[in-house]
Symmetry: C2
Subunit: 621 residues, 2 copies
């Protein structure tokens, strides 16, 4: 079997002949980006072969002859190879900016989590009752929302019961959630152990988590990481396709997601320096992520009429999902609305009291999908606009996630020259969503992009720009497939520069047009004009970091929305998932929200295509 060694890390694995390099990297612990889902179309999973031969089975469409000569290969393509040495791949997202900040309001109501210190009578020949009966008698009935209940002991807990009781001389602490006994520990001598809860924003690209003290709701630590399912495709559709191949693949997706949550729990506990027992995990995710986390087939989410298998689920024993840690917490999903509007959005609406606020509220969470909610006159409408992954860097020539080296801010300096900010301040490697939005807004503002989205050539733009914006003019250049614009000139960056192409502008138009059309349709449904909207809340990584002025200048937000009423709210999904974690009342409110929300299917909506076509244009300046 071929041996693959990575340098400089020195990691070493043996693989079956024919194993794709993506898989080889994964086995060695490297997670490669794979925005195109392994179709060999984006080149973002490229690795550099330092020694050994890789005979590509077919033409590599996204690498230049020079790159190929330097040993670069797309890791996702079929390849034959013997022993290899590969340069350690730069891991996607490792240093990416994952939004774990949010505006936290305190939870309302009680946590529903109880704790009892129990001193069971130890068994004796005269009292040889079984452990379970002994425990249940000591526990008695628990007051829950449904009244007095005798808690249930599930099988993993029962299996641990004999040892826990005997190790602690039958003195133990029981912790439960509502009618469920979740955790039983020998009574620690002296100090009490904290009861911990983990709120998880389970995103397609990234996971963000907040570790909380369940007694007082305090956030003890945040943690984030990329979604390891990314190795099977960066977008929802390719992951669903992968998971639909068979039960092994579906199972793999479940294991990857559960493993990532376990890792976040450990990471957060370590950075918070708390030891405690993890009692409850709340997860807010989009519907596809929720299905894959539970190991439920998700194919019906991806084909018309787009039907989820479930919208809500009772709290599950994490061990039934393959959780391997010492604690066996309950895992509770925030309920969703439809195949495209999931628990993450419901959590966001919950966090910002969208259904309770006076007046009208537009809530936008833009990632791969642009999820939109509009609350007005006591009604809640939701929709999902297929924005595509442009805002996350895919399908953009030099697109990337908001990791170090990404151009994330673009604007005009007082001297009329272009200024840009780069994540981490270092050399520019590409452009992320907010950079793309700013670039489009800036170029539209100075007229380099026309209202139809055409990028002017240097000749066409020359007359107007030479006086006011000579710097801008100097950045326009030609590429074989049309004009392009240097956001970062090769000479300035010491690298190959970062350019925006005509095709990038078209991708941007498709993405922003879909979102804006969705907003338009929802506004029409509610009978509102953009001008009358009381507030617009922008959530999610892209939504929170984007410049609202750019959103209005490009028409990502429909014209008429008043800039002073637009507000970024950070990771609203995580904020709301935390509330769901912390209170019974919030859990009930999330259920009400999810049930009461009307889902508007944009693609089947009269007028959507026309609105989409119109919103793809840029506003007149």
């Amino acid at each position: 079997m071929p041996v693959v060694v990575f340098r400089p890390s020195g990691r070493r694995i043996e693989v079956e002949p024919g194993t794709r390099l993506t898989e080889a990297c994964r086995l060695a612990g490297f997670s490669l980006p794979s925005p195109c889902g392994g179709a060999g179309l984006c080149g973002k999973c490229r690795v550099r072969i330092l020694a050994g031969e890789v005979s590509a089975a077919r033409h590599e469409p996204c690498l230049s002859a020079e790159q190929l000569a330097q040993g670069w290969r797309c890791a996702c393509l079929p390849a034959d190879y013997g022993d290899l040495v590969i340069a350690d791949p730069a891991e996607d997202g490792e240093d990416g900016v994952i939004l774990t900040e949010f505006l936290a309001r305190p939870p309302r109501g009680e946590s529903g989590i109880w704790e009892r210190e129990l001193a069971l009578p130890p068994p004796s020949p005269a009292d040889a009752r079984d452990d379970q009966t002994r425990l249940m008698e000591a526990l008695g009935e628990i007051e829950t929302q449904k009244g007095l209940e005798r808690p249930e002991v599930d099988l993993p807990l029962l299996a641990g019961l004999p040892e826990v009781l005997r190790r602690s001389d039958f003195h133990c602490r029981a912790v439960g959630v509502g009618g469920r006994l979740v955790s039983l520990r020998g009574r620690a001598e002296g100090n009490r152990e904290a009861k911990l809860g983990l709120a998880v924003d389970l995103g397609t690209t990234t996971l963000a988590a907040a570790l909380c003290d369940l007694d007082d709701g305090a956030i003890l630590a945040a943690a984030a990481r990329d979604n390891p399912q990314g190795i099977r495709g960066n977008d929802v559709i390719s992951r669903i396709e992968y998971a639909s191949r068979g039960s092994g693949e579906l199972d793999e997706m479940r294991r990857l997601a559960v493993g990532a949550i376990e890792e976040l729990a450990a990471k957060a506990a370590e950075s918070a320096k708390v030891s405690g027992r993890l009692v409850l995990i709340a997860v807010g995710g989009n519907p596809a992520m929720a299905h894959l986390l539970l190991g439920v087939p998700a194919a019906a989410l991806a084909a018309s009429p787009f039907v989820p298998a479930f919208r809500e689920s009772p709290p599950l024993s994490a061990s039934s999902l393959g959780w391997r840690g010492g604690d066996a917490p309950l895992l509770w999903l925030v309920p969703g609305v439809s195949a495209f509007v999931g628990g993450d959005i419901v959590a966001g609406l919950l966090a910002h009291d969208v259904a309770r606020l006076d007046g009208s509220t537009l809530f936008l969470d833009i990632g791969t999908n642009g999820e939109i909610a509009l609350a007005a006159a006591g009604r809640l409408h939701t929709a999902a606009a297929a924005a595509g992954p442009a805002f996350e860097g895919a399908r953009i020539a030099q697109g990337m996630r908001a990791a170090s080296g990404a151009v994330c801010r673009v604007g005009l300096a007082v001297d009329g020259a272009l200024r840009s900010e780069i994540v981490g301040g270092g050399p520019a490697r590409g452009i992320c969503g907010t950079g793309l939005l700013d670039a489009a807004a800036t170029l539209r503002r100075v007229g380099v992009i026309d209202p139809g989205g055409r990028l002017l050539s240097r000749d066409e733009a020359g007359a107007e720009l030479s006086a006011l914006h000579p710097d801008i003019l100097s950045r326009l250049h030609g590429k074989p497939d049309g004009p392009a614009f240097w956001l970062v000139h090769p000479s300035a960056s010491g690298g190959s520069g970062v350019a925006l192409t005509q095709r990038d502008v078209r991708e941007f138009q498709l993405a922003k047009g879909a979102v804006a059309a969705g907003v338009r349709i929802l506004l029409e449904t509610a009978g509102l004009a953009p001008e009358t909207l009381d507030r617009t809340l922008l959530a999610g990584g892209f939504g929170s970091y984007l410049d609202p002025a750019s959103a209005l200048a490009t028409g990502l937000l429909p014209a008429g929305i008043r800039p002073e009423r637009v507000r970024s709210v950070g990771n609203a999904a995580l904020a709301g998932t935390r509330l769901f974690l912390l209170s019974e009342e919030e859990r009930a409110a999330a259920g009400d929200l999810a049930r009461s929300a009307a889902y508007v299917d944009l693609s089947n909506r009269d007028g959507f295509q026309i609105a989409f076509a119109r919103e793809m244009l840029f506003p007149e300046t």
Copy 2:
């Protein structure tokens, strides 16, 4: 790695050096008997090496020099070997007599199992609700014992939901038990599928099962097999010890038990030639078997004060126990009473209405333990007597289970000679429990065994026997460790003959003394004399086949019990487990029985040691 080939089967495996031969046989699919739990003390796991060298790591205490020379080795001992050829081991229990017959009374009450044919509205763009909501709406509320309930869908069922619904155009049949939805299938065109239930008597040595139609209770087929956990020790204690080594071992025991039940279900369905869906499995087992089936540590069952982890369990999804079949039935354990009186006994008491009968009833199920129940004056007392495995052939020089070649009946012919019956009629290989009991009774009757249990030598017995029983006299012979008695003379069997030794008689005395003392104590507790007992029911393999006259002649049943009031009832555990399977009322009655039964701990009981010593003696003739 050494290669082990079996002849004549031709099975072939590679094993790690140092693998015990028991394990090698197991890997090749042979299950060896191991009554001593792998301690090398009983010689019953012996295999014959046809080619290759096995250098025994220590002296084999239970094989003769002649057997060692012929290539026989105890498979359970540590051994070094290279490539080997081994004669196919005769598998223990393969042709053993496993009792699947029982006296079946019809179940009382309703099954609690429901079926609904559902035509769900197929999803459309205008109705894209999730599958679960769609299903629940069609199902509506189910009338259960607790009132109207909305059934719960567990995770494995949810995971199967999208496919089932889409394969059948959203027409399906749902089957449930009480408030639990258990099975969902696409509506079969034309004929209806039967709803099947499996009642399992999960014994330490053997499993017996009855496949039933849940609609009418009809027994469609019976099936039986040895308990594959036997490879880890034939008795409960050695299995508990094995399972206590670590979670891997505990898990192995669970998998072996679940796998055996799966196999029985398949076997029974095949012999009944029915296809249907398996909805419910009811299991009656002793407490240790019940713990190991659920993967719950059982160590506390084996040490004073003998405490089970649980006595009853809610119905469990079989898939949570590792059931791999297509159906995912519920598995429901018959509740037990104490660490020694389990669901098998409760089932037996249920089957024979022991708690409802007028007068007084003694119920005895004798296997490795002798479980005893006494119902009188509205009270139910239970106890377990540590009979030891003598009645199952262990610790008896030529003891074996009731498989072909076992001497199973012994008595006097009209001419005063000994007569015996052999299972299968073929050459005698050993003696089973009923044969041992009859032999002891017969030898006591003719005076060859004295009231203290001493086996007379030929000289001592000569005077009395020569006239009436010359055949008996001729069978007495000397062995180095004392007198012995040929039950089957080597000359008659063409083999090495079957003899009863003085030590065998002592083992028998210990076993029968324990049971009889237990019965005495329970009778005393209830204030009854043996003469006043209205009925004695003998259950289980040994109990059902034994000759009540021998039981009285040897004092296995205390003197005073009237022979005409003793009745064999067959596999009462299986009979009662079937009732538990078939009706909610019977399940409730079993729960009441288990809860109301008082457990009498014989070992800690004043007077037990004295009763035991007295009952070890034989009655005067």
